[in-house]
């Protein structure tokens, strides 16, 4: 557990650091699935997040006046983390992120190479190949991956700047289904570990943070909530509560009771 304790102390006051960039907020949010860009902007502002994931897509040739994400989520205010959603091979991922780098100049990227529905589980063979190609091309790669400690270590050794195992399938809202594996990955890692995918509500984010994650990435749970702005605030507090609880150190679980009030000085 030493690795975790040291990490907690290193991260205490200054938030967390990835690839030399500091972030006070340990909540990273996605910008997809919102009903409109106004809600996207408001929810993200209220979440307190400083880093947001974005996707790269063709501009609409027919509707040139369609509102653009950058008009609502200012890249000067938020760190854009371009993703490779929709890429199924290393070549596609590299091609997409080169374009993202040209569009915004960002080297820090989120690599995700997914398998087919219904799991959309990370395709680790393809992810490893893509990570290698991207690192060679000068990218700083935060990588979405399986809850596989061996693969996570390999990605770190390769030079990925953050390891992002799933808590449960993307958009499932099932919460952290694999706490032991997540904790093992955290204990083995010297780079930040983020739970990416699976969070359903604030409790899940708090739980992920209590396991010792450096940050949590949430999209669907906020965007698809009945009230996304309120859920964004809830996630913000969930992440803070979980981190504080982790740093504070929880009491051990025991099977017997232990009274909270003194058993001496009772009136007779």
């Amino acid at each position: 557990m030493d690795g975790i304790t040291q990490k907690a102390h290193a991260g205490d006051l200054g938030g967390w650091t990835v690839a030399g960039r500091n972030f006070a907020s340990r909540l990273v949010v996605g910008t997809g699935k919102y009903k409109d860009l106004e809600t996207t902007a408001e929810a993200i502002a209220q979440s307190g997040a400083e880093m947001v994931t974005v996707a790269l897509r063709r501009v609409n040739v027919h509707d040139r006046n369609a509102p653009m994400l950058q008009d609502f989520v200012d890249p000067k205010r938020y760190t854009y983390l371009p993703n490779t959603a929709g890429c199924f091979t290393a070549d596609e991922a590299v091609r997409t992120l080169r374009l993202a780098r040209e569009a915004g100049g960002w080297n820090l990227v989120k690599l995700e190479v997914l398998g087919p529905p219904p799991t959309l589980y990370p395709d680790m063979a393809a992810t490893l190949l893509a990570a290698e190609a991207l690192i060679k091309d000068g990218f700083e790669v935060m990588v979405y991956c399986a809850d596989d400690p061996v693969a996570a270590k390999r990605l770190e050794d390769m030079g990925c700047v953050a390891i992002m195992p799933l808590g449960a399938p993307i958009g499932s809202g099932l919460g952290v289904q694999n706490p032991v594996m997540i904790q093992t990955i955290i204990e083995n890692a010297k780079v930040p570990v983020l739970v990416d995918a699976g969070v359903g509500t604030a409790w899940d984010a708090a739980y992920a943070m209590e396991l010792g994650c450096d940050a949590v990435l949430v999209n669907s749970a906020i965007a698809m909530a009945d009230d996304p702005v309120k859920m964004a605030v809830a996630m913000k507090h969930g992440v803070i509560a979980g981190r504080l609880a982790f740093e504070a150190g929880r009491i051990p679980r025991k099977s017997s009771a232990s009274a909270s009030s003194p058993m001496t000085g009772l009136i007779r």
């Binding site: 790269l56 063709r58 374009l99 040209e102």
Partner: protein, 73 residues
């Protein structure tokens, strides 16, 4: 008398588009009313740096991908 300007055909984001011969990439994005600060362009699978838009004269049959950021997880 009217002078006919020769048209060339491009593929822009998978759709066929006719533009006058000699149109540069700067000309095309102006024609499409796009904000160049927010996009990236790939021409025949090669990225065109923003600084080269003016000097890039489009050729008949060019395949262009013009992309920008959208919401994503």
């Amino acid at each position: 008398m009217s002078q006919t300007i020769e048209q060339i055909t491009l593929s822009v984001n998978g759709e066929s588009m006719q533009v006058p011969a000699g149109t540069s990439l700067t000309g095309l994005v102006a024609l499409m009313e796009l904000d160049t600060r927010k996009l990236a362009v790939e021409r025949n699978l090669e990225i065109v740096p923003r600084s080269q838009y003016g000097a890039t004269v489009l050729q008949h049959g060019d395949a262009l991908e013009i992309v920008h950021f959208v919401g994503g997880g």
